[in-house]
Symmetry: C2
C-alpha cells in the first residue's frame, strides 16, 4: 500500500483538473482564432459549464480533508511543492462561490466579444456597460479572495497570476523605474535625434512570405511544430497545452518590423511551456511558475536575445531572402537602429523597451483604482488619456489607441499588468546570468544556434517549473532576487553606450 494515499488521491484529482484546464485552453484558442461570431453564445455556455465543473471538482469537501491528511504524509521536495500549489489553488477556488465563478465566466465572454466590436469602431460606449458589470463582479471576487488569503484585494488578484506577488515590492521596483526612466528617455531621444535615422524596410510584405519567415525563426529558436501551431489573431497570445502550444500573430502587409518580434515574443512563452518537466505534466508543480517568469521568457527571447546585433545580422539575411528584396534598409546596422528606435507612442504592445514600463505603470495605477472603486468605468477613457499625457507626453486621438487597445480588462484580467515589467526586469537579470555562465551564448545566437541559451534556461528556469517560487528561481539562477539594476544597466548599455 502507498505511504501517501491522500497525496495520491489529490494527484489523481489534479490530473483531471489539468485535463479540464487543457480543454478550456483549446476552447479559448478556438474562440479567438477560428470561431464564427454566431457561435459566441454557445461557446460562452460551454466555457461557463467547464468552469463550474472545474470549480466543483476543486472545492469538493474531500479536497480540504485530503490536503490536511497529505500534509502529514512523507513527501519529497517536488511533491511537497505540489501540495503547496494545490493548497494555493484550493484557497483561491473556495474563496468564491460557484455562482460567482459562473457569472464571471459569462460576463467575461460577453465583455470580450463586445470589446472586439468596440475596438474595431473605436467606440468605448459599446463595451462600457459590460465592463462596468464585469468590474463589479471582479471586485466581489477580489474582496472574497482577500478575506480568504488574508491579503489586500489587489494582491489577491495578483496572486492568481503571480503567486506571492507583493504590491509593496512592485511599488518599490516601479518607483526606481519612475525615477530613472524619464531622464533616460530624454537622453536617449536626444541622442537618437543626433544620429543617423532608422529606415524602415519598405513593403509590401506578402503574408505568405512573412509566415514562412516566422516559421523559420520559430524553428531556429527551438519551436517544435509537431507540438504546436502558429495562427493569426488581432491580439497575439500563446495558448494550448505544453504538448500542443499554440501561438498567434497578426500580419501587416505594410509593416514587417513589429510582426516578427511579436512572433519571437510568443515563441519565448511557448518554449517555456514546452520545456516544463515531462515527469510532472498534469500536476500543479509541473506548470509554469507564474506570469513574471513567463514574461521573462518571452522578453528574454524578444528583447535580450533577438534584438542583439548578432541575431539581427542573421535576420537581415533571412528577410532579404524571404522578401526577395535587397535594399540598404536590410543592413544589420540599420535593422538594429529600427529595432532599438525609441518613441513616445500610444500602443503598449508596439512600445520600445524604455517607454513600455511607463505604459505598465499607468495601467497598474488605473486597474488598482478601478478595483478600489476610486475610478468609475465611465471615467476610464478620460483618466487613461490624462495618464498618457502625464507619463508619456502624448494623448491618444481615440479610444482604440487608448483604453480599448488591450484585451486584458475586457477579459477579466485585473492584477496582471505589473507582471510585464517585472518580467522585463527578470529577463535582463536572467540573460546576463546566462551569458556570465556561458560567454559563448551571444556568438552562438549569431549563428542561429539557440541550444546553449535554451540549455541554460532549461536547467535554471523551464525545468524548475513551480518547484520553487519566482524569487527563489531568480536567486538560484542569478544569485539575486528580482532587481531593477540589470534591466536599467541593459537599457543604458544598449541605448546610450553602444
Amino acid at each position: 500500500m502507498s505511504a501517501t494515499p491522500a497525496m495520491d488521491a489529490l494527484e489523481d484529482r489534479f490530473r483531471r483538473l489539468s485535463a479540464l484546464a487543457g480543454a478550456e485552453g483549446v476552447l479559448g484558442w478556438d474562440q479567438r482564432v477560428v470561431m464564427p461570431k454566431g457561435g459566441a453564445e454557445a461557446r460562452a455556455e460551454q466555457l461557463a459549464t467547464l468552469s463550474v465543473l472545474h470549480h466543483e471538482i476543486l472545492t469538493a469537501p474531500a479536497v480540504a480533508e485530503a490536503l490536511d491528511a497529505a500534509s502529514t504524509e512523507p513527501l519529497d521536495g517536488w511533491r511537497a511543492a505540489n501540495l503547496l500549489e494545490m493548497r494555493r489553488r484550493h484557497a483561491h477556488a473556495t474563496a468564491v462561490s460557484a455562482g460567482l465563478v459562473e457569472a464571471l465566466s459569462r460576463a467575461g465572454s460577453r465583455c470580450e466579444a463586445l470589446w472586439r466590436e468596440a475596438r474595431a469602431k473605436a467606440d468605448f460606449g459599446i463595451v462600457r456597460a459590460a465592463l462596468t458589470e464585469q468590474v463589479r463582479l471582479v471586485r466581489e471576487e477580489a474582496a472574497a479572495k482577500a478575506d480568504a488569503l488574508a491579503t489586500t484585494p489587489y494582491e489577491a488578484l495578483l496572486d492568481g497570476y503571480e503567486p506571492g506577488g507583493s504590491i509593496a515590492r512592485i511599488e518599490a521596483l516601479f518607483a526606481e523605474l519612475e525615477g530613472d526612466l524619464p531622464p533616460l528617455l530624454e537622453a536617449v531621444l536626444e541622442r537618437q535625434e543626433s544620429r543617423e535615422p532608422a529606415t524602415a524596410p519598405s513593403g509590401p510584405f506578402p503574408v505568405a512570405a512573412q509566415r514562412t519567415l516566422a516559421q523559420r525563426v520559430m524553428t531556429t529558436l527551438g519551436f517544435d511544430f509537431n507540438h504546436g501551431r502558429l495562427d493569426e489573431t488581432l491580439h497575439p497570445f500563446c495558448g494550448g497545452v505544453p504538448d500542443d502550444v499554440r501561438i498567434t500573430t497578426r500580419y501587416d502587409e505594410a509593416g514587417f518590423v513589429s510582426g516578427i518580434m511579436g512572433v519571437i515574443h510568443e515563441t519565448g512563452h511557448a518554449l517555456y511551456e514546452r520545456g516544463l518537466p515531462g515527469d510532472w505534466r498534469h500536476q500543479p508543480v509541473g506548470e509554469a511558475r507564474g506570469m513574471v517568469m513567463h514574461e521573462s521568457q518571452s522578453l528574454l527571447m524578444e528583447m535580450q536575445a533577438c534584438r542583439s546585433p548578432a541575431f539581427l545580422g542573421l535576420l537581415s539575411g533571412w528577410a532579404r531572402e524571404a522578401f526577395a528584396s535587397d535594399g540598404q534598409a536590410w543592413d544589420p546596422e540599420n535593422l538594429h537602429r529600427v529595432y532599438t528606435r525609441v518613441e513616445r507612442s500610444f500602443i503598449r504592445v508596439e512600445a520600445d523597451e524604455i517607454t513600455y514600463p511607463l505604459h505598465v505603470i499607468l495601467r497598474t495605477r488605473l486597474e488598482r483604482a478601478l478595483l478600489s472603486g476610486d475610478l468609475d468605468v465611465a471615467e476610464l477613457p478620460a483618466e487613461w488619456n490624462a495618464g498618457m499625457r502625464d507619463l508619456l507626453g502624448v494623448t491618444p486621438p481615440n479610444d482604440a489607441l487608448g483604453c480599448l487597445q488591450d484585451i486584458h480588462w475586457y477579459d477579466r484580467a485585473i492584477g496582471y499588468f505589473p507582471t510585464y515589467t517585472l518580467g522585463a526586469m527578470a529577463a535582463a537579470q536572467l540573460f546576463q546570468a546566462a551569458v556570465a555562465a556561458d560567454p559563448a551564448i551571444p556568438e552562438a545566437i549569431g549563428r542561429g544556434d539557440f541550444a546553449p541559451l535554451l540549455g541554460w534556461l532549461g536547467v535554471h528556469v523551464h525545468g524548475r517549473a513551480s518547484s520553487l517560487g519566482t524569487e527563489e528561481i531568480l536567486q538560484a539562477a542569478t544569485g539575486s532576487t528580482l532587481s531593477a539594476g540589470p534591466f536599467l544597466a541593459h537599457l543604458k548599455a544598449r541605448y546610450l553606450d553602444a
Copy 2:
C-alpha cells in the same frame, strides 16, 4: 412554485450535459482539423476526462429519482418527448461503468490516430492491435447495453445512432435492395456503355477557386457562415454545434467532381443542425432525430436536389466562372452524365447511388460479425476483399482502398453503417413528398432558390427535432413509414428512364 420541479431539475442537468457535449464536439473538430500530431496524448486525456464527467453527471443517483418523479408531472408533448429522450440516454449511460467509458474513449483516440498512419501507409498491421482492443471493449459495451435495453448487442449499439432502429426492419429493407439492385446495376451499366461517355472536366482546379465555389454553393443552399465554417480534412465530416456548425472537405486539385458534391452533402447535415428549433436548444428533444434522418438530409441535398439537371445547369455556369474555363465538359448535359456515372469501385464515399448500398450491406455484415465474434479483426482485410468480390465484383489492390478507407470502426462507430442506406431511402421518400406538396421546388432549385425546399424541410423534418421518432416523422411528412420503393423508383427514373 413550478408544477414540474423534477423535470425542471432534469432540464437544468441536460443543459449542462449539452454544453459538455458541445465542448467535446469542438475538441473533436480541433483534433481532426488543426491539432498537431504531438498533441494527441494530451487531447486523449482531455476527451477522456470530459467523457467521464459527462457519464458521471448523467448517471448520478439523483437522475434516476428525477426521471421517476418527472413521469408523474404534467408535461406537454415536447416535454414528454424530452423526458423519453432523457430516459433513453440514461439507460445507455447507466448500462456501462465509468471505467469502461474511459477505456473506450482512450482506445478510440489511440486507434483513430493509428488508423491515420495505417491508411496513409496502406498497412493494416499498424492498427490491427489497437482495433482488436477496441472491438473487444465495444463488445463489452454492447453486451452491457443489450442487457439494459433488453435487445440484441448489435441493436443496442444501433440504438445509440438510430433510436429504435431494428435489425429485422433493416434485414427486410436490405433484402429488397439486394434483390433489385444487382439486375438494376447490370441494366444501367449496359445502357451507360451504349451511350455517349461522360467527359470529366480536366484540371488542375486550384484549391482557392474550389473553396470560393464551395462557399458560393453553400451560401446558395442556405448555409450561414456567421454560424459555421468550412475547413479541410482527409475524411469530411460535419461537427460543432447548431449555432456553430463546422463542415469539412478535401480538395483534390486534379479532380473537381467529387469534392463539390461532398461539400453539398455535409451542407445538408449542417442545414439540419441549424434548422433545429431554437426554443429547445440544449435539450435532448431539440437535437437531431438520429443518423437515418441526418443522412436523409445530406443525401436529399446531394443526391436528390443537386444531381438534378436543374441544379447542374446552375453549377455548370458557376464552375465555368470559378475555373475560368469554357470547355464542353462543363455543358450541363455532360455534367449530368458525370454526376450520374455508375461504376463498380472501391471507395464507398465516392460510390454512385446504385453501388453505394452494396458497400453498406457489406459493412453491415462485417460489423455484425466483428461484434458477435464470428469475425476476428485479423481476418478483416481478407473478409472485406472477399465481400467486395461477391457483392461488387472488384477486389481492392490494398487495404487503403479496402478496410482502411473508412474512419468508423477505428473511431468506435459500430452499428452506424446501415443508417447511410436507410438515409438514402428516406431522402428519396422525403424529396418526392416535398415536390408533391410544392411542384415548384425543382424549378426554384434551378434558379438557385432553395427557400421553398428548405421551408418544407424546416416544417416537416428540421423543426420536429426529436419530438417524434424517425418512422413517425416520415409517416407525418410523407404518408408512409420508411420504404425502399421511392428510392428504387428514383434510381430507375434517373438511370434507366431519363
